[in-house]
């Protein structure tokens, strides 16, 4: 250890002495500041103060040179021990930082010893061998990551089973299940997830009809895609778990949107036809029931006294009718009644005028 410290000191000395062992050690070696006092900075400093300020630097240089010339004994004892302590301190910090690892609850630490997978650290504080031997890679296993596919702004058309096109946007949620597999098995896992998701979604959509894809089979499709993705990713031994797939948008392409709106309009029309018919049916049924009930009531009474009721009804009706109309009774038989048709017409005209007014 002490030899290393000594070396370090020597190396330091090497850098302090600007000329080093190459240049001649004469007075011409001295920095120009010594000769000109004011120094290369051209300040107004007096010669005396300038000389004093340079003196320690000069001293340091001389000592440094002495060390290389083998001035005698171990060079710079106090300096050496300082360096030793610095080195020890450095290694201590190194040890602490590279062998104690705090793993937060959502993480796991994958430990590799000389590159080979060794074990996985759980949450908490974990101890490992220091850095060049053991290395720890923290992998977030709890947080669920989301990948969005097929943007909502642009069209991402997919062919359905009935050879229609659908514009679809969806997202995949996933997390890491096995951190060591996730770290070592798959190159570029994110891209793999995207590709597998696209492939799975396309495969599922190609087996359903457009109507199903847009309508109520969405959740079924989501489940199927998630299932397919999981199988493929497990096949890669990727250590990835698919949490779910969500279809954000499944619409017909813009080019045919009007036709789809026409279908909606037709559905509403059809509904209104049926509603109108239902209203008519209700009305008619109610009317029939009402009339039948009225007849039944009257008939009940009629049955008790048929003849009287019949006559009564007859007279009442005749009364009402004949009281409201013009009547002519031709008493003597054989008289041809004269109908005053012009008068009737006049009457009619008058009535019309009244009605208009």
């Amino acid at each position: 250890m002490s030899t290393i410290a000594g070396w370090a000191g020597r190396v330091r000395g090497l850098f302090t002495d600007t000329k080093g062992p190459w240049g001649p050690s004469g007075s011409s070696d001295e920095p120009p500041s010594d000769d000109h006092g004011g120094g290369p900075w051209g300040g107004p400093a007096s010669r005396g103060t300038g000389g004093r300020s340079v003196a320690p630097l000069d001293d340091l240089l001389r000592r440094g040179r002495m060390r290389f010339r083998g001035g005698g004994g171990l060079p710079g004892r106090p300096n050496g021990s300082l360096i030793l302590w610095a080195v020890i301190g450095f290694f201590a910090i190194w040890l602490i930082f590279t062998s104690i690892h705090s793993i937060s609850p959502g993480e796991r630490g994958v430990v590799t010893r000389f590159g080979r997978y060794s074990y996985t650290l759980g949450p908490g504080v974990g101890l490992t061998l220091p850095s060049p031997v053991d290395r720890v890679k923290k992998v977030d296993v709890e947080s669920i990551r989301t990948v969005d596919l097929g943007s909502q702004s642009s069209e991402d058309l997919m062919l359905t089973g009935d050879q229609n096109l659908i514009d679809i946007a969806y997202s995949v949620r996933w997390n890491v299940r096995t951190p060591e597999l996730y770290s070592f098995q798959l190159a570029d896992p994110d891209e793999a997830i995207r590709q597998v998701a696209e492939s799975a979604m396309r495969a599922v959509i190609a087996q359903v009809s457009l109507q199903d894809a847009m309508g109520d089979k969405r959740s079924e499709i989501e489940a199927q895609v998630a299932d397919r993705m999981q199988r493929v990713l497990t096949g890669y031994r990727s250590g990835i778990e698919i949490q779910g797939v969500a279809i954000q948008q499944a619409d017909p392409p813009d080019e045919v949107n009007d036709a789809f709106k026409e279908v909606t309009a037709a559905q509403q029309d059809a509904k209104s036809y049926v509603n109108q018919a239902n209203a008519y049916a209700l009305q008619l049924t109610a009317k029939a029931q009402g009339e039948a009930a009225a007849f039944d009531k009257v008939y009940e009474q009629y049955r008790l006294a048929p003849e009287v009721t019949r006559r009564r009804m007859y007279y009442e009706t005749m009364e009402q009718v004949l009281s409201k109309v013009d009547k002519t009774i031709v008493e003597a038989p054989g008289v041809t009644p004269y109908l005053p048709l012009p008068e009737v017409k006049k009457q009619q005209q008058q009535q019309q005028q009244e009605a208009q007014q």
Partner: protein, 287 residues
């Protein structure tokens, strides 16, 4: 020794550094994600951390290894599952319809030595695999009718692609893990437009049929209502047809001559004969 160091400090420092580098490079650490081919003067000597399917990670050949400095060179080869992506390319189905197919394959280098000999670098390998993938996809899918192209997984077409691709790829020391179709698109232009057109007409047809169905249903409902009403009437009025005749006649007279309350009937002149039933008491009783 110490004397030499004291006399030639820089030289010795450089030398020490050199020794350190050589020492470190003689013991390379092999990570889990890499395989290594040790090449001695251009001749492959050993394979480190070779992929073996049965071995779980942690008990593989990864870890510390050694090599002779300057003599042995290490060629690093990825051990993970890698991807090769294909540019979308047209495939002609047996019924002469075009489809743009975008596929990808996942592979693993299982024989790094063979791979090193045949392709030298991973980049070369990828280019070669891309070419093979392209031709295999076109060959296999070109034997299918259009409908089967839409979901090639169902008929096991993709398995065929994978198998034949695997045969080709094994010459490069590569095992194909998976081949999948990422996208199947109709080519831009006429095929896409005609697909839109057929979608549009299908929708319009659907709209018409929905309207017709609605009308039909409405008609049935109305007819059913009429029938129900008739049934109700018949059940009630059928009890005494003669009385119904009379009852309804009375109602009818009222409606005709007086109106039903909502509209006034046309003025009427009635000429009655004294023989009328209504006036039979008018002339005094004959009996």
């Amino acid at each position: 020794m110490t004397a030499f160091i004291r006399q030639r400090p820089i030289l010795s420092a450089v030398f020490a550094l050199f020794v350190l580098i050589v020492l470190l490079s003689s013991f390379p650490t092999i990570p889990e994600t890499k395989q290594a081919v040790v090449v001695r003067f251009g001749k492959p000597e050993r394979i480190l951390n070779r992929y073996e399917a049965a071995r779980p990670i942690g008990s593989t050949g990864a870890g510390l290894s050694y090599r002779i400095p300057f003599v042995d060179q290490i060629v690093w080869i990825d051990k993970r599952v890698l991807a090769v992506d294909m540019e979308p390319q047209p495939v002609l189905s047996t019924d002469q319809r075009r489809l743009m197919v975008d596929a990808f394959a996942r592979y693993r280098i299982v024989d790094p030595l063979l791979m090193y000999i045949r392709s030298t670098t991973e980049e070369n390998l990828r280019t070669q695999l891309q070419t093979i993938l392209r031709s295999e996809v076109r060959n296999e899918l070109g034997r299918q009718p259009f409908a089967a192209l839409l979901s090639p997984e169902r008929q096991g077409v993709m398995d065929d692609v994978r198998k034949s691709l695997n045969v080709q790829a094994s010459k490069f020391g590569v095992e194909i893990v998976d081949v999948r179709i990422k996208k199947t698109d109709l080519p831009d232009g006429t095929p896409l437009q005609s697909a839109f057109e057929s979608m549009r007409t299908a929708r319009l047809q659907e709209a018409r049929s929905i309207r017709a169905q609605g009308l039909k249903q409405a008609q049935i409902i109305r007819a059913q209502a009429d029938a129900d009403a008739a049934k109700t009437y018949a059940a009630s009025f059928g009890k005494d047809p003669q009385f119904y005749d009379f009852y309804r006649a009375m109602q009818s007279y009222q409606a005709t001559f007086i109106g039903d309350g909502t509209s006034k009937p046309a003025p009427t002149n009635i000429i009655l004969s004294p023989q009328n039933d209504y006036l039979k008491e008018f002339t005094g009783r004959t009996k």
